[in-house]
Amino acid sequence: MEWETVIGLEVHAQLATKSKIFSGSSTTFGAEPNTQASALDLAMPGTLPVPNEQAYRYAIMFGLAIDADIARTSVFERKNYFYPDLPKAYQTTQLEKPIVGPGHVEIELADGTKKTIRIHHAHLEEDAGKSLHEDFHGMSGIDLNRAGTPLVEIVSEPDMRSSEEAVAFAKKLHSIVTSLGICDGEMSQGSMRFDVNISVRKPGEELGTRTETKNLNSFRFMEDAIKLEVERQIDLIEDGGKVIQETRLYNGDTKQARSMRSKEEANDYRYFPCPDLLPVVIEDDYIESIRKELPELPDARQERFITQYGLSSYDASALGSDANMALYFETAAKDSGDTKLTANWIMGELSARLNSADLSIKHSPLSAEQLAGMVSRIADGTISSKMAKQVFDGMWNNGGDADSIIEDQGLKQVSDSGAIEAMVDEVIANSDKQVDNFRNADESKRPKMLGYFVGQIMKASKGQANPQQVNEILLKKLNDLL
């Protein structure tokens, strides 16, 4: 009998608040170490936390988006453990009374099947700082800029049965939080991190012993790590061994995982309600006011793309699931006036370039306005699709707008039939041998022989001749010679 994989996810999403969850320090990514750490972030004695209302709003937005219960009373607790990048030696988090109760999201798999994944709860907590182990000659440096950044931790039920489902679920959460604008979704900066709980069993049996692989920060790593761990567990059991409950770390560079600590070595976190923070009571009116201002969610947006732009369901999903992608597409489509062509360029050339440069759409070197400028020149016949690639390259590498690149590089398509006729005449005049071959060839073979003449004409026009016109005129002239 086949093995069944059981997967549950714990997802940490950094909330896009301006300041930290309990202090006024900035949360901007990438500042010099410890320049965004106040006395509170350093856990100086006597400092006290004050909750950031925006973090609550964002968590409630998430709760509403997954159709969850919002707790009318939520409580912060202290999770105690010593680590140098955890300044208070406890993390302020929620345990017994999280802000977001049970909810669910729907995922769609490649074959079009849909599945509901239940969410156990989501809670607010603070992020830790970072330990820097390089450049300190046998010591470690501590950077507390990240300490106190608000996180929402989303805990799923063990409802996923394959790495594909797990990745689809992770992508769906990414799409929801970015659409809500509560998280920037920058995985490479650690804005979203995934812990994956994995076990295997024979269908119908009790759940197997699970392991947790922590801190995966890309969909690809997540997929690879799950496959690796499932394989490890199955091999282990089939060889007569037993899976032990442990926390594992996956290295995306070496594609290997190792055990970090077993259950026996796990900390006793000694949770208890934080006496510095009173329980937060949220009233119905407050929740309703947030519900009214909820931005468009990915599922609704994809539906709209199908009806409003006539996109296929596949295209609507590709362009509509990510909020930044959707914004890019809609801006470019509006500017260019050609929805279908815009969609094709985004999903084709642009996506391929972004992928190979490992960039998200938000950091695309090519803005939606630039792309739209190029698309509209294709649409109005100024440039050919082939020329457009040159324009695209120019904009990608050096910036600028399509019109000036077309102008500077002389890429304008020649659609003047007189000029094209002259070029055709000249090529024919200089190609006696090829014209003879054409004339003597069997009629069925003639279309294939056109290639030579087209090539010569395009060469003569430096690629600028309108290919459709070239074809038409050439055919007419050659036929006249028969």
């Binding site: 100086m44 004695p45 006597g46 006290l48 030696a89 000694r270 009173l278």
Partner: protein, 494 residues
């Protein structure tokens, strides 16, 4: 003016003297600094004396007063318990762990006094991290009780209490987690008030047990405590447990008659364990109040016996987490040449904390551990609710509750050192009010063997004005608070 009179003045008298131009803030500050220098060798009530900054503050205060419109408190010298963070001045909390710690910020309480123009003479000694009832746990050595230097001043605010009793400050800030203002006030024969939880900001006040800690004033009289509380109390957006409620002028009701006042006398506060001399002094005080028109009502606070055990679960539990930040990573003590992270943590904390602090961290961590949480921490929280309900029920019937502050007067050094539980019972009458979040105060009401006895007044939530009124009326009719220990004169004055 005669120097020897200056240090006998209450804060109210100092304010009057400054207003009348009888003396300047610089003069009285210099006078106190001189006294501290000469006399505090005997009492050890200060950890740090701010000679330079105090004189600068006094000069500024005199200038401000000269310009007019100065706040009442402008130029009055006080001391801060070394648990309140002071910008640029070492704040040790009585611990080796923070012996080198200079905060880059002021506690809100410190800021409030600075805004009012107060002069800060220095930082007073205390039990390490406010854990103790005798001041014997301070890294800086014990404070001596000015009434008898062989006895303890009480704790944890023993430095503030002794400094006032020895006339080394007219008033001082203090904190009270289980009795740390009231018990040393009683043992040193001064007046001290622990306000309602949330009335005084905890920001910048180094946490012992966050849900119990509350700052408050200590001085020789109830009127002085009212003047200090006017400055100390404030709503502070930086403290999420601070309560947004208007701060009244606590001096307004001081002179109201006590006619018709209903005083609850809890039976449980007069049972075994109470020193007979203490009991008599308290009963005499109650008789005096009866004479002024108050009615004594016998009440019961049935869960009194559970207060000490519940407190010694909750307070250490919170402390175990609050004190975890002292890990040697960012500030404070760090052991020499740690060989790895674990070694650094273990030696730093083993060296930096004293015995009592370690005991409470261990107790607290144990109570919160998996498998023990329900039996200890959760149960203690349930008891806490019952204790609070006792008081809520009692205040349906009475205006204030009174009894002894402490079961007996000051004891000798070392006499309870081997028995932590005997020490914990020192706070048997004070702890319940912290668990309930109620305000409580202690005022001098007599002597046993020439050792002061304190009368405890417990008020309803935010009823500090009434408590101060009761204490003030009592002090108008008695002179216990006016008595001073011997040996307070400077060498040259003799």
């Amino acid at each position: 003016m005669n120097d020897s009179i200056m240090h006998n003045k209450t804060i109210a008298e100092i304010i009057a003297g400054l207003e009348a131009g009888e003396f300047t803030s610089v003069e009285i500050t210099q006078h106190y600094l001189k006294r501290i220098k000469q006399l505090d060798r005997k009492y050890n009530s200060y950890i740090t004396v701010n000679e330079t900054s105090a004189l600068a503050q006094a000069e500024a205060a005199d200038q401000r007063r000269a310009k007019g419109n100065a706040p009442a408190f402008c130029g009055v010298p006080i001391a801060h318990k070394d648990i309140f963070c002071t910008n640029g001045i070492r704040t040790s909390c009585g611990s080796k762990m923070l012996d080198n710690f200079v905060p880059p910020y002021d506690a809100t309480v410190v800021e409030n006094f600075a805004n009012a123009g107060a002069v800060v003479l220095g930082k007073t000694n205390m039990d390490e991290f406010a854990m103790g009832s005798s001041n014997e746990t301070s890294f800086y050595g014990p404070v001596k009780n000015p009434w008898n230097i062989n006895t303890v001043p009480g704790g944890s605010s023993g430095g503030s209490a002794a400094a006032i009793a020895a006339h080394l400050a007219p008033g001082a800030t203090a904190t009270d987690t289980g009795g740390s203002i009231r018990q040393p006030a009683a043992l040193c024969g001064i007046t001290g008030l622990k306000p309602t939880y949330g009335r005084v900001s905890r920001w910048g006040m180094i946490a012992f047990a966050s849900s119990l800690d509350q700052g408050g004033p200590m001085a020789r009289t109830a009127e002085d405590c009212a003047l200090m509380l006017n400055v100390m109390a404030s709503f502070d957006p930086k403290d999420s447990t601070s309560i947004d409620r208007e701060v009244p002028d606590y001096t307004t009701n001081l002179n109201q008659s006590l006619n018709g006042l209903k005083i609850g006398i809890p039976r449980e506060y007069f049972e075994e364990g109470l020193n007979p001399g203490t009991e008599q002094a308290v009963k005499n005080a109650l008789a005096e109040l009866e004479k002024q028109g108050a009615t004594l009502v016998s009440i019961s606070l049935p869960h009194t016996k559970l207060a000490v055990p519940a407190y010694y679960v909750i307070a250490p539990a919170e402390a175990s987490a609050n004190l975890s930040r002292f890990d040697g990573v960012r500030y404070g003590h760090r052991c020499e040449d740690p060989k790895d992270l674990r070694d650094m943590y273990m030696r730093t904390r083993a060296e930096g904390f004293g015995e009592e602090v370690k005991r409470r961290i261990l107790v607290g961590a144990y109570c919160l551990s998996a498998g023990y949480y329900d039996a200890y921490y959760r149960k203690a929280q349930q008891v806490r609710r019952l204790i609070k309900q006792d008081f809520v029920d009692a205040f349906e019937k009475v205006d204030v509750i009174m009894g002894p502050t402490s079961p007996s007067p000051a004891f000798e050094f070392g006499s309870k050192g081997d028995d932590p539980v005997a020490m914990y019972l020192e706070d048997i009458y004070t702890i319940a009010t912290n668990l309930a979040g109620l305000p409580g105060m202690s005022a001098p009401c007599g002597f046993v063997d020439n050792k002061p006895v304190g009368l405890q007044i417990i008020g309803n939530y935010f009823d500090e004005s009434r408590m101060l009124n009761v204490a003030h009326q009592f002090q108008l009719a008695t002179d216990w608070h006016k008595r001073s220990p011997e040996g307070l004169e400077l060498e040259e004055a003799k």
